[in-house]
Symmetry: C2
Subunit: 233 residues, 2 copies
């Protein structure tokens, strides 16, 4: 049987998972909204972000109350402090999904994204959503291998980001400056969103192993590289 | 006489002030570097960011050790938790200054910024540096009025950001897509930097008053608006 203290600690974990699910859904819906120029969907993403913010405030208040009342040490203390950081990552991810939705609204009824960039933006949106779904899974399972996988996915996001830039820099670019500005910002939003999802996963690695993900990654990097090399072949 | 506990709490505050000074200097130097296309200066900003990161790691370790050993409650607990958040804001501000420096390096020996945008970028860089200097002062003095002033300065940053966009959207824009992309990202870096400086000041307001700055701002907004209206006239 769990005591009240560990129940409270678990409930903070549950809130993180719920936040990750909400912002994962938000980036998926924001991507659909901007590709389809769907104003109603964009508005729903913008409104829903308030719930993420509320959840974060609530989580923070509970974490601080837990620190004050229970004065955890060692692992439990690390869990609470790390949870505060993860909630900040997730709150910020929600903002970035909201930025995508706001760009949809700003350009409506025009489409912000030219047809020849649809495929790349769709891929970025889907990858962002997958990254966050994996981060949520890592929060639940504490699966270090899965957490380290997120870094590979993040490399894929960087590749997509570069593809986007190649489109922009192509001398045949014919969509003008405004669209170039929109696409530049959009690329940045997805990239940052992915960074936050990876950060959440890395923090779980730190909690589980006591090592920062980068150090761990360095140890197993040759193995992972050979695997991804085989997949790429 | 201060006990060891309060000395440690003070030293965390000192580290925050030092971080703010370092990242304030970084954004000033990064701005000079990008305007002058000064590679050496840009490199020095890029390298110096490691010190900011190290300071943050050190601060975090000390904050967590303090929580574990001293188990502070009430105000002291809020100070420690809020310090962790402020250090994250400052670390991120350092990254953004580094991004400006990296853009300088990427375009070297070309100049990233066309001459007709120099004045606006210079103003954004100076304002960013002033905002961080004020945030550092707020950290030292706990001056709530000064903290609330930062929001006005942030409005000035938003105005500069809009000016930048007007340049970009002007049909006479003749600097091509690559420069438009660079200027878009640069504008975003300064805007986000300013947001983090404001966030630091707001967190001090919360510590001092127990109220979030936005609520406090709402109470005194009419007064501030009339003052700034008079200044604007």
């Amino acid at each position: 049987m769990r005591d009240a203290y560990h129940e409270e600690l678990d409930s903070i974990g549950d809130s993180l998972v719920e936040m990750a699910r909400m912002v994962g859904s938000a980036i998926g819906r924001a991507t659909t909204a901007i590709l389809d120029s769907d104003l109603k969907l964009a508005e729903s993403v913008i409104e829903a972000d308030q719930k993420v913010d509320d959840l974060q405030h609530d989580l923070e208040a509970r974490a601080i109350a837990l620190l004050a009342r229970q004065q955890p040490v060692a692992t439990d203390l690390r869990i609470v402090v790390t949870s505060l950081r993860m909630s900040a990552d997730l709150e910020r991810s929600g903002d970035l999904a909201q930025h995508v939705a706001k760009l949809t609204r700003l350009r409506y009824p025009e489409r912000a994204i030219p047809q020849d960039l649809h495929a790349t933006i769709l891929e970025m949106g889907q990858l962002a959503q997958r990254l966050m779904a994996k981060a949520a899974e890592v929060l639940v399972t504490k699966d270090v291998d899965l957490a380290l996988q997120l870094e590979q996915d993040d490399d894929a996001m960087d590749l997509l980001h570069r593809t986007l830039f190649q489109h922009l820099m192509d001398e045949r670019w014919k969509h003008g400056i405004e669209t170039a500005v929109d696409v530049t910002l959009l690329g940045r939003y997805y990239e940052r969103y992915a960074d936050h999802a990876v950060a959440v996963a890395k923090r779980v690695v730190y909690l589980v192993t006591g090592e920062h993900a980068d150090e761990l990654q360095a140890d197993i990097q040759p193995e992972i590289q050979s695997v991804s090399g085989a997949e790429g072949a």
